[in-house]
């Protein structure tokens, strides 16, 4: 009997309370979630349901009030701030709604940034960066600065930055929010493709047609998981077919 592979992301009984006393708000309540390698999970829910908090906790940008977050088997609560930073640059890739590319760097430099933080020289990083840019279809933009790109191009570069290196966990916080529907679909296709190649992808989105690309969709309300569906269930439930 073969041993089950270690989940890429695992949340065990995670709660997060913002504020204190009378102002205390439960952002996430006793949440359990497991993402295996190659799994694409979409998170949906109304505003204030705890979607972004979930992503912050998964990336080690925020700490849970209670519970445990494990990334590739490592307990984030046991790591120092520097340890969590190292984990983010090696294991976790972030994609933001507003792309958040560093305006002072070119596309290639933005993608190489996590590698350089890890001690790679720009020279050594170059071929790896070219490959990733090629994978997301923006190789010809390597020397452009973010301000000279369209929204879709910028987001592809942001995804390339999230993918570069050995990272296997991709956290995407409404990456299609600032894009038109065609470009948005292209971006989700890129994420789907990465999942198919072995990365675990956690996508926060408001759009059911994008969620339909996921292996399963987690619905949140008031910090709690209220439902979980497979892709066909979601399409049926929402009356939208994945194209």
């Amino acid at each position: 009997m073969s041993q089950a592979p270690t989940p890429v992301l695992e949340l065990r009984g995670v709660s997060r309370v913002h504020g204190r006393d009378a102002q205390a708000v439960d952002a996430l309540v006793d949440m359990d979630l497991v993402l295996a390698a190659g799994e694409f999970v979409a998170v949906m829910g109304p505003s204030g349901s705890g979607k972004s908090t979930l992503l912050h906790l998964a990336g080690g940008l925020d700490a849970p009030t209670s519970g445990t977050v494990l990334v590739e088997g490592q307990d984030l609560g046991a790591l120092s701030a520097t340890g969590r930073a190292v984990l983010r640059r090696r294991s976790v890739g972030y994609v933001f709604q507003d792309f958040n590319l560093l305006p002072g760097l070119t596309a290639a430099e933005n993608v190489a940034f996590p590698l350089e933080l890890d001690g790679w020289s720009a020279h050594k990083a170059r071929p790896v960066v070219r490959t990733v840019l090629s994978e997301v279809g923006v190789e010809d933009l390597a020397d452009r600065r973010p301000e000279d790109m369209s929204g879709g191009q910028a987001q592809r570069v942001a995804i390339a930055r999230a993918l570069v290196g050995p990272r296997r966990l991709l956290l995407a916080d409404e990456p299609t929010g600032a894009l038109d529907s065609v470009t948005g679909t292209e971006i989700v296709q890129v994420l789907r493709s990465r999942a198919d190649h072995g990365a675990a992808v956690l996508l926060v989105t408001h759009e059911p047609r994008f969620a339909a690309w996921a292996d399963r969709t987690v619905f949140l309300r008031d910090g709690r998981v209220v439902d979980t569906t497979g892709p066909s269930d979601a399409a049926e439930l929402l009356g939208t077919a994945a194209s």
């Binding site: 952002a27 908090t53 520097t82 972030y94 590319l101 305006p103 996590p114 600065r145």
Partner: protein, 981 residues
């Protein structure tokens, strides 16, 4: 009221924005308040500072209308002119008789009375004789030699006619006023020194005089009264820190009457009627100087004053100082404040976009920023006014007087001059106006940017594309504009003698504008160029460089603020170092830092003077590490040329005749240091200059005689080598051109003063920079040429020199012990003179640090979004700190080296300009210690960079700047905005 309605929305939005970004707003208010505070405090302090007129007015005795000094000038000479404060032009001493009472009275209001007084400062007071009150004796040259030193003091005696004495003397604390010429009132200081009290007898002694220098009267009074003494009875004691005495006319009056030639007449005008400016001018025709209470309190119109020729050199010197100070000061303020508002626009992009979308016109957007600037300016102006008042109130005016140099309040007159600070309402109006102006100008660029924002871009918080071409242009344009500025400055220097002052000021302003513009362009291109040239930088420095290149509106003012502060600090350092160095060249010194000389205030005889000084040395040795003393002598010129012409020989260094062409002499600047290339200028080779040594007053600075041990005790730089030369029978000189390559000095010498000089005698020679006397030989060498010597005083020998506090203590010890001894110390303890001359430099260094810190704090707010990104993709805290630190390095790397280069260049330029300006006043020719002419009081001969101070400036700015950056660089605790979504 329509315009008010238009301003209401922008004002409301501006207020809300300012409140939201309160840290930035407070910073901007504080920045505006600082120059305003300086303006208020400086204006109030300088406005309250007593003028020369105030000082002179305070010295007119209460109850007198005017003080007249009837000079002994030749009545056929040029007419006398004076200012209301009593400054005259020309020489007014001579052998003539001064105007008498009748002549003076005819020109004065008939109701007033003329009261004559006499004063003489070179007297001794003693309790060591048994002269009865009123008894006089003429005891020759050796009046006091048998008296114990403890029973002697120097004293200034003032005699007056009966009506004038109560007016001239202070209130008597103990006893009564004199009623006849046998009685005297003395100060508490004199009473303390000699142990006198009311009823005691004392004697005033007028020793034999070589020269005289009375405080109120002419040289002749010393000659008239010398070698006599007179007994008095003390009838009163008045409070006073100096040894002074007051008596009714008697001893001095009689001596002056017996020898009227050359004795100036001092008169008080008492009575009800004022002495007017017309009467003053009439009295000037009698060669009488008038200081009138009425004239000083009712200052004559300029048209009524004597015409004064404007000194072109002074005007030129003031011009360069004013242009530099005003220009750089204004730029500094703007560079410090502008970035705050530039970042304000950046932070408010969305709000501005929404306002535009809601119908705000570009003008409304501009008004939002302008309104914010005006409010910040108003609050900053008010805060600055309060701070300025506080600074002015807690700053003692006397301390400002010390640094400003003018007017000097004479000893004993401190209490007479009003030193309270006065505030004027217009100062506060101007302060608020300046605050508003700064706020308006500092926001002008930001307001312009706001008005040009594209609403769509602003709403999406998207930046306009960078204009790369402009940055590339500035790489070439900057140096070109800078070069044009330097060329204009050099042009101004070359035409300084032929152009009008207004044209020169125009050229200076143009040069300043071009240089600052050029520097701004160069600074702007630095990060872009560096980022392109150094492509293999790690991510942090690369990001910092590109951030600076991408945000010129924040980076350029910040780097320029650092540049300008370092530039001004460096330039100021050059000015201070050069001023001190030139003082030193022109006045010289007889003792090095840490050394001490002792001499007698009133020479009596060699034996007695030695006794007095040995007693002083013993007193010092009881408390300070004094291990001995060495004697110093001068040539007895009085004996040499006046009394015993046939007995003495002389020795004097001569310049090699082939040094300069006929009729020219080496310039002071080229001979003040060894190894400088020789420059020749017009001058009389036979002219001999006099020294400027101030203490002791009777020391002629030309020729000193001392042995090698004395020279070593002087602590002068190069004293050891000079001591060896003296011991070898050589000559030590302060003019490098006199020492040949063989290390010898050619001297003219003769055993007979009036005989033919034997030229061409060569003696071993050594040069000492900054030596006051022109030449020094050992006593043995002097005697071998038959030069008659006179004893001057002692050099105090210590193990390793005295500290500044020990020297100050030595002064106090001697001051408490005796008034007979003068303590001499180096006037140039440090190459920058006194420490307080570097205070403005320190303030500027602090400002440079403030500029760096502000820029980093603003940059941090602007790059917060990028920091969040970096944090999210794996940047550790230490990386973020290094990133901000690199931002500081970029600012400092652009500002500090250029600032230092600018300061050194500007300092050298200013010194050269001042030198040229001094040359514009040929009538102000003086003679320096080298016996070579110089022009004006400051010849600005050397450009001294003061490298240790320059290095300290750079190291302080860089080190403290980086340390501050480390504090500022701490990443925000909550880089991720926590929310419940």
């Amino acid at each position: 009221m329509t315009w008010m309605a238009r301003w209401r929305p922008p004002l409301r939005l501006a207020a809300r924005d300012a409140a939201r970004h309160w840290v930035r707003s407070v910073l901007a208010v504080v920045l505006v308040s600082l120059p305003v505070a300086w303006l208020v405090s400086d204006t109030s302090l300088s406005g309250s500072m007593p003028t020369n007129g105030d000082v002179v007015l305070a010295r007119i005795p209460e109850g007198a209308q005017a003080v007249l000094t009837a000079t002994t000038a030749d009545r056929h000479g040029p007419p006398m002119t004076q200012t209301p404060e009593g400054s005259t032009t020309g020489e007014w001493s001579g052998d003539g008789e001064p105007a008498g009472a009748d002549e003076l009275a005819r020109l004065l209001p008939p109701e007033n009375q003329l009261v004559q007084f006499w004063a003489y400062g070179q007297l001794l007071a003693t309790t060591g004789t048994d002269l009865a009150p009123g008894e006089e004796s003429s005891a020759g040259e050796h009046l006091v030699e048998d008296i114990d030193v403890a029973q002697l003091s120097t004293v200034v005696l003032l005699e007056a006619q009966a009506q004038g004495l109560p007016v001239l003397m202070p209130a008597v604390d103990v006893g009564s006023v004199p009623t006849d010429a046998t009685q005297v009132v003395i100060t508490s200081k004199l009473a303390g020194l000699l142990g006198l009290s009311v009823g005691d007898q004392m004697t005033f002694v007028a020793p034999h005089q070589v020269f005289g220098a009375g405080e109120f009267t002419d040289l002749a009074l010393g000659e008239a009264v010398q070698d006599t003494q007179r007994g008095y009875r003390v009838v009163g004691v008045a409070e006073g820190d100096l040894p002074q005495a007051w008596a009714l006319e008697g001893w001095l009056a009689a001596a002056a009457a017996a020898h009227p030639e050359g004795n100036a007449g001092n008169w008080l005008v008492v009575g009800e009627q004022p002495v007017t400016w017309d009467q003053t001018k009439a009295l000037n025709r009698l060669y009488t100087v008038v200081i009138s209470r009425h004239v000083l309190t009712h200052y004559p119109a300029k048209s009524e004053l004597y015409p004064v020729e404007e000194k072109r050199g002074d005007v030129l010197a003031d011009a360069v100082k004013a242009v530099t100070a005003a220009g750089l000061g204004a730029l500094l303020v703007l560079f410090l404040i502008t970035p705050a508002f530039t970042v304000s626009v950046d932070q408010s992009r969305r709000m501005l976009g929404m306002a535009a979308a809601a119908g705000a016109s570009p003008r409304d957007l501009r008004r939002m920023l302008t309104a914010q600037g005006l409010v910040v300016g108003l609050v900053g102006g008010l805060l600055g006014s309060v701070l300025g008042v506080l600074v002015a109130v807690v700053t003692p005016l006397s301390s400002v007087l010390d640094t400003s140099g003018t007017p000097q309040i004479p000893d004993g007159a401190e209490g007479l001059v009003d030193l309270s600070v006065r505030f004027s309402w217009w100062t506060f109006v101007a302060a608020v106006g300046v605050g508003l102006l700064i706020g308006f100008v500092a926001t002008a660029a930001a307001a312009w940017t706001a008005s040009r924002l594209h609403p769509v871009d602003a709403l999406k918080d998207r930046r306009a594309p960078r204009v790369r071409r402009a940055v590339l242009d500035s790489v070439f344009l900057g140096p070109a504009v800078l070069g044009a500025g330097v060329a204009t400055a050099v042009l101004a220097l070359t035409v300084v003698s032929s152009s009008s002052v207004s044209r020169l000021v125009g050229l200076l302003v143009a040069a300043l504008v071009l240089v600052v513009t050029g520097l701004a362009l160069v600074v702007r291109s630095v990060p872009a160029l560096a980022a392109r040239v150094v492509t293999r930088l790690p991510a942090g420095p690369r990001l910092a460089l590109r951030d600076a290149a991408d945000h010129p509106s924040r980076f350029v003012p910040a780097a320029l603020a650092v540049l300008v502060t370092v530039c001004v600090a460096s330039c100021l350092t050059v000015a201070v170092g050069s001023a001190v160095a030139n003082d030193r060249i022109l006045t010289g010194d007889v003792v090095g830092p840490g050394g001490l000389t002792l001499s007698v205030r009133q020479p009596i005889s060699e034996g007695f003077d030695r006794l007095v000084l040995r007693d002083a040395v013993d007193t010092l040795a009881a408390e300070l590490p004094v291990v001995g003393h060495e004697s110093v002598y001068a040539v007895d010129e009085f004996s040499l040329f006046s009394e015993y012409p046939e007995d003495g020989g002389f020795i004097e260094p001569v310049r090699p005749q082939d040094l300069c062409p006929e009729g020219k002499i080496p310039s002071v600047g080229s001979t003040s240091r060894a190894g400088l290339p020789l420059r020749c200028e017009d001058g009389d080779p036979d002219q001999v200059g006099g020294g400027f040594l101030e203490q002791p007053w009777w020391l002629d600075g030309d020729f000193l005689v001392m042995g090698g041990d004395t020279m070593r005790a002087s602590g002068l730089p190069g004293a050891d080598k000079a001591a060896q030369t003296l011991d070898a029978g050589g000559v030590v000189v302060n003019d490098a051109s006199l020492v040949s390559r063989r290390g010898t000095v050619q001297v003219a010498a003769s055993q007979q003063v009036w005989g033919e000089a034997e030229r061409g005698v060569e003696l071993p020679g050594a040069f000492v920079h900054g030596l006051s006397p022109k030449y020094v030989v050992s006593p043995e060498t002097a005697r071998s040429f038959g030069v008659p010597l006179t004893y001057l005083g002692e050099y105090v020998v210590t193990d390793s020199g005295l500290s500044a506090s020990q020297i100050a203590r030595a002064r106090d010890i001697i001051d408490e012990h005796t008034s007979l001894v003068v303590v001499g110390e180096s006037q140039y303890q440090y190459p920058w003179g006194e420490h307080k001359r570097l205070i403005p430099v320190a303030v500027l260094v602090v400002l440079a640090l403030v500029a760096t810190t502000i820029s980093l704090a603003l940059a941090k707010t602007q790059v917060r979004r990028d920091m969040v990104t970096m944090h999210a993709v794996g940047a550790s805290g230490s990386f973020l700190r290094r990133f901000v630190l690199t931002q500081a390095v970029v600012i400092l790397a652009a500002g500090v080296p250029l600032g230092l280069a600018c300061g050194l260049g500007l300092g050298a330029y200013q010194v050269t300009w001042l030198h040229e300006a001094a040359l514009q006043e040929p009538e102000a020719v003086g003679w320096g210690v080298h016996g070579v002419r110089y022009y004006g009081p400051q010849n600005w001969l050397e450009t001294v960079m003061l490298w240790p101070v320059q290095v300290t400036i750079v190291v302080s700015v860089v080190a403290v700047g980086l340390a501050t950056a480390l504090t500022v660089a701490r990443p925000a605790r909550r880089l991720v905005q926590r929310g419940i979504d």
